[in-house]
């Protein structure tokens, strides 16, 4: 019956596990001020950025690894990690110059650059390990004044903008992993949408971790000027690896007056095998600020991968009448652990936020929602609605909910509700009665359960997200 299906589901191996043979330039493992200087030098960075890195590194040394999350994190030897890896080829100008191996990798993922370029009109900034390899549709965007490039390119070509907004949302001293990232970040994406411009296409970046034993430290910065709009997509898949890989990214989003940013993620890094060996450690700091009046920020995430996920995309609602949304589906299987959620900090007047989180636990995994809604004393008429649902498939997994609500203003209306249950026998019975076999029924129910969030994803991504859900819970999704 359904137990068998769940068993089948939990026995699935990771389908996207493969390694691409690309020569990579790696510096010896270890972390010290010299390594930080070396990274900065290799990337030809200006003085101020090196200072920023060093400040972050010195602060990081004073910090201790946080242990408050509902995660069992094996000790990480930060000296055993190599902090810089870059494909050795020079940056290509057209698709022909892109390494055929790399193109093959994307083919296997079903997201070839060409197809993306021709069919969907998505500008893809493909990040393979740490250095941006290929950026498409750049010229089209440049005509509108939109800057969409790799982070190091932005440092070279738009230093004023980077200096103005870097670490303005996530300061280097924010937390342990943000400090580490600030010290050693290798590359990432930078997007700038000028005043009044509506970005005509979805911006997307595909992150992959490829070289063995390298941590990936991405830094993404998105700035939406007054009255602009952008939808930004980020997708992640990683090849199979026996050793654990560390990923500590920082994403910063600045939304100015009347602007709107949609940020969507599909995360499918290698979760480790059935016995919990290997897998990616994903410790990410993502934060956006609705700085101006009437600004809007929307997060959508589908989390299916990683051995350990530690991720709380948050929004600071500073501008009056600003609003934020957070939609999340987190699926854990086998020995995966996820502690994820969001923070909504209401500072401006008439701000509103909406949280919808759906957790699905299977196998022996643990899936936690941890969220904070804070209303500051001057945040008049703040409104929040949070809903956290958990679905348990199997009797060895765990689902946990840790919402925090801190309200300091009497005009606020804050609501929270959460449920935890397994797929109800009534629902399966209802389907069976109508000639739908149990397997299809479980699929229908899980799909329907996550639908609310999947619907928030842009079209191209919704397809991939559904595919990922199918892979993670194959056998139960029709």
């Amino acid at each position: 019956m359904s137990d068998e299906i769940i068993y089948e589901v939990t026995q699935n191996d990771y389908k996207y596990g493969f390694t691409t043979d690309i020569e990579t330039e790696i510096i010896p493992p270890g972390l010290s001020e010299d390594v930080v200087r070396l990274i900065s030098k290799k990337k030809d960075e200006p003085e101020w950025l090196l200072d920023f890195r060093l400040k972050a590194y010195r602060h990081w040394k004073t910090l201790k690894m946080p242990d408050w999350a509902y995660l069992d994190i094996p000790p990480i030897d930060f000296q055993a990690i190599s902090y810089f890896a870059a494909p050795r080829k020079n940056a290509p100008k057209s698709l022909d110059e892109v390494d055929p191996e790399l193109l093959k990798t994307f083919d296997k993922l079903g997201i070839p650059l060409e197809e993306q370029k021709i069919l969907s009109g998505v500008a893809v900034d493909a990040v393979m390990d740490s250095v941006s390899v290929k950026t498409t549709f750049r010229e089209n965007l440049a005509e509108m004044g939109i800057i969409f490039c790799s982070f190091s390119e932005a440092v070279r070509e738009h230093p004023d903008l980077v200096q103005k907004y870097l670490a303005s949302v996530v300061p280097y001293a924010d937390n342990y992993f943000a400090a580490l990232n600030s010290a050693v970040f290798s590359d990432g994406s930078f997007a700038y949408i000028p005043k009044g411009v509506r970005c005509p296409m979805e911006l997307s970046t595909y992150f992959r971790i490829n070289a063995a034993n390298t941590g990936q430290f991405e830094r993404t910065l998105i700035v939406a000027e007054e009255g602009s709009y952008v939808s930004y997509l980020e997708g992640c898949t990683a090849p199979m690896r026996d050793e654990n890989q560390l990923h500590a990214a920082v994403v910063e989003i600045v939304v100015l007056k009347d602007a709107e940013v949609k940020y969507s993620t599909v995360q499918n890094w290698y979760p480790g095998d059935k016995d919990g060996n290997g897998g990616v450690y994903n410790f990410v700091t993502k934060r956006g600020i609705c700085k101006g009046e009437n600004s809007r920020l929307s997060w959508t995430q589908v989390e299916t991968g990683s051995a350990i996920t530690w991720k709380y995309p948050s929004t600071i609602l500073m501008g009056d009448n600003s609003s934020a949304e957070f939609y999340s589906v987190a699926v854990t299987n086998n020995h995966q652990q996820a502690d994820t959620g969001t923070k909504m900090i209401h500072i401006g007047k008439n701000t509103s936020s909406h949280i919808l989180s759906k957790g699905i636990s299977a196998g022996q995994s643990n899936n936690s929602y941890r969220g904070l809604v804070r209303v500051n004393p001057k945040a008049e008429n703040a409104r929040n609605f949070s809903q956290c649902d958990s679905l348990l498939l199997g009797d060895k997994c765990g689902a946990h909910t840790f919402p925090y609500m801190e309200v300091n203003n009497d005009t606020a209306i804050i609501e929270h509700e959460a449920t935890t249950s397994k797929i109800s026998e009534d629902q399966i019975f209802y389907c069976n009665q109508r000639g739908i076999d149990t397997e299809t029924a479980v699929g229908l129910i899980v799909n329907g359960y996550a639908k609310e969030v999947l619907n928030k994803l842009p079209m191209e991504f919704a397809v991939e997200a559904q595919k990922l859900l199918q892979i993670t819970l194959e056998g139960s999704v029709g």
Partner: protein, 464 residues
């Protein structure tokens, strides 16, 4: 500015260490005195508890569980401790006339931390076998019974104040209801704080309700004097198979009082427990409640209410542990916060791996009346079984303006309309009370409190 701020924090931290030091020295110097004046059953675990306290110290807001209760200020007061067990010159029976009409409970007093020896008329009609006495006396007369249960739950706690209680508590009450005995009326325990100097009371209470028995407990907290009080009480309750236990805590104390009450309940198969924590008037209150459902088919209701204004602080920290299958729990907490009152609520719902078919509900609703009032709520679910239905909900908001408008339209004055709405809001919790006389009385007290009066019991000369 920022530099000053850090200085203050550092200083405060150091001071907390200093308060601890003072008690540590006191303990080391007077261990023998403490032990010789104690219930013997409490002495066995004393050193262990003290060691734990040294390790944990007093909880600061840095401790996650005490994030929303800042006890540094109340703990900084130089309290007196009555380790030599001097009797306080007061006869509560002379002055106290509890006016819950028709409740006619078995009535007992605890003055500070000492159980008051009684010869009250009604108490003589206690059913045979039922024991209500001081823990000290019980350790002598019923040592086997006491030793079988005492500290079994408290020792498992990882809380600095519970450890402190273990080190310093010398006495408390002991209640025993034998197998299949059904108490016809509630047992009422009145905690009275009475002292001329700032005073700290640590007491340890033990309640054993045997298989098939039924008991209702009403614990009232009162203060008499206008000095600073700190009470740190730990109550352990063992509820046997098929037994019923109800625990009502009614707090109406002065604003200068800090009350930390830890209620630990262990439920056996088919037992039924109701906990109701009513905080009507207080200073700083912290209720730690942990209910372990260690048998199948248990039923648990835990609810509470807080009406706070001024600078009052109410923090209810609750855990319900579903350790066995087929149990049902329901939690409801409601707060109405005015002025600069601070409310805190943590509801931890834990479902163990094999606790299938668990049904657990939790609800926390709060109304803020002034912009300076603060509420922090943390409803938490930790679930390891798959065949369960668990849900929680939490809201923070204001009175419904539409309802207000509706009533104003019909000629009900604003003040009255507000009162009606707040009363209706609080009524859900009051409805959980299963003693009719008490329910009526609480309704009156809540109404009076909502109209702005201090909800002391009429005829009781204790509350100021």
């Amino acid at each position: 500015m920022t530099k000053n701020k850090t200085d203050v924090q550092v200083r405060e931290k150091k001071e907390t260490v200093l308060f601890e030091q003072q008690y540590i020295e006191l303990y080391e110097q007077y261990t023998d005195t403490i032990c010789s004046h104690s219930a013997t059953a409490l002495n066995a675990g004393r050193d262990k508890a003290f060691k734990k306290f040294r390790e944990l110290g007093f909880p600061t807001p840095q401790v996650e569980n005490y994030k929303y209760t800042d006890l540094r200020e109340p703990l900084s007061v130089d309290y007196g401790l009555n380790i030599k067990r001097v009797n306080f010159p007061i006869n509560p029976y002379d002055v106290f006339k509890c006016d819950v009409p028709g409740i006619s409970a078995y009535l007992y007093f605890v003055v500070n931390d000492a159980f008051y020896p009684t010869n009250y008329e009604r108490n003589k009609s206690l059913p045979e076998g039922v024991i209500v006495t001081s823990l000290r006396q019980a350790s002598e007369e019923h040592s086997e019974l006491v030793e079988k249960h005492i500290s079994k739950l408290a020792d498992k706690q990882n809380d600095g104040l519970v450890a402190f209680n273990g080190a310093f508590a010398q006495d408390g009450f002991f209640i025993y209801v034998p197998k299949n005995v059904i108490l016809d009326r509630p047992i009422q325990i009145i905690n009275i704080m009475r002292s001329d100097v700032d005073f700290m009371a640590n007491s340890r209470n033990l309640v054993v309700v045997e298989q098939g028995a039924k008991a209702q407990m009403l614990v009232c907290d009162h203060t008499v004097d206008d000095v600073r009080f700190f009470s740190n009480r730990v109550t352990e309750v063992f509820v046997g198979e098929n037994a019923f236990y109800e625990h009502y805590k009614l707090e109406s104390v002065s604003r200068e009082t800090t009350d930390v009450s830890t209620l630990l309940i262990k439920q056996e198969q088919n037992s039924n427990v109701l906990g109701n924590l009513l905080t009507l008037h207080n200073g700083v209150s912290r209720n730690n409640v942990e209910i372990a459902l260690d048998g199948e088919n248990c039923e648990t209701h835990l609810c509470g209410m807080a009406l706070s204004d001024g600078k009052q602080v109410v923090d209810n920290f609750t855990s319900i542990l579903h350790n066995k299958p087929n149990s049902h729990s329901n939690e409801l907490f409601k707060y109405i916060l005015d002025d600069e009152a601070k409310g805190g609520f943590t509801g931890r719902l834990y479902v163990e791996k094999d606790a299938q078919k668990t049904l657990a509900y939790q609800n926390n609703k709060n109304i803020l009346l002034k912009r300076t009032a603060k509420m922090r709520t943390r409803p938490q679910l930790e679930i390891f079984a798959d065949d369960v239905k668990c849900s929680h909900g939490a809201t923070i908001g204001q009175l419904d303006e539409k309802a207000m408008f509706y009533m104003r339209q019909r000629g009900i004055p604003e003040k009255e309309a507000r009162m009606l709405l707040m009363f209706a809001f609080a009524a859900d919790v009051i409805e959980f009370i299963r003693i009719d006389a008490l329910k009526d009385r609480i309704k009156k007290m809540v109404e009076k409190r909502l109209r702005g009066g201090h909800s002391k019991c009429d005829g009781c000369s204790f509350c100021s």
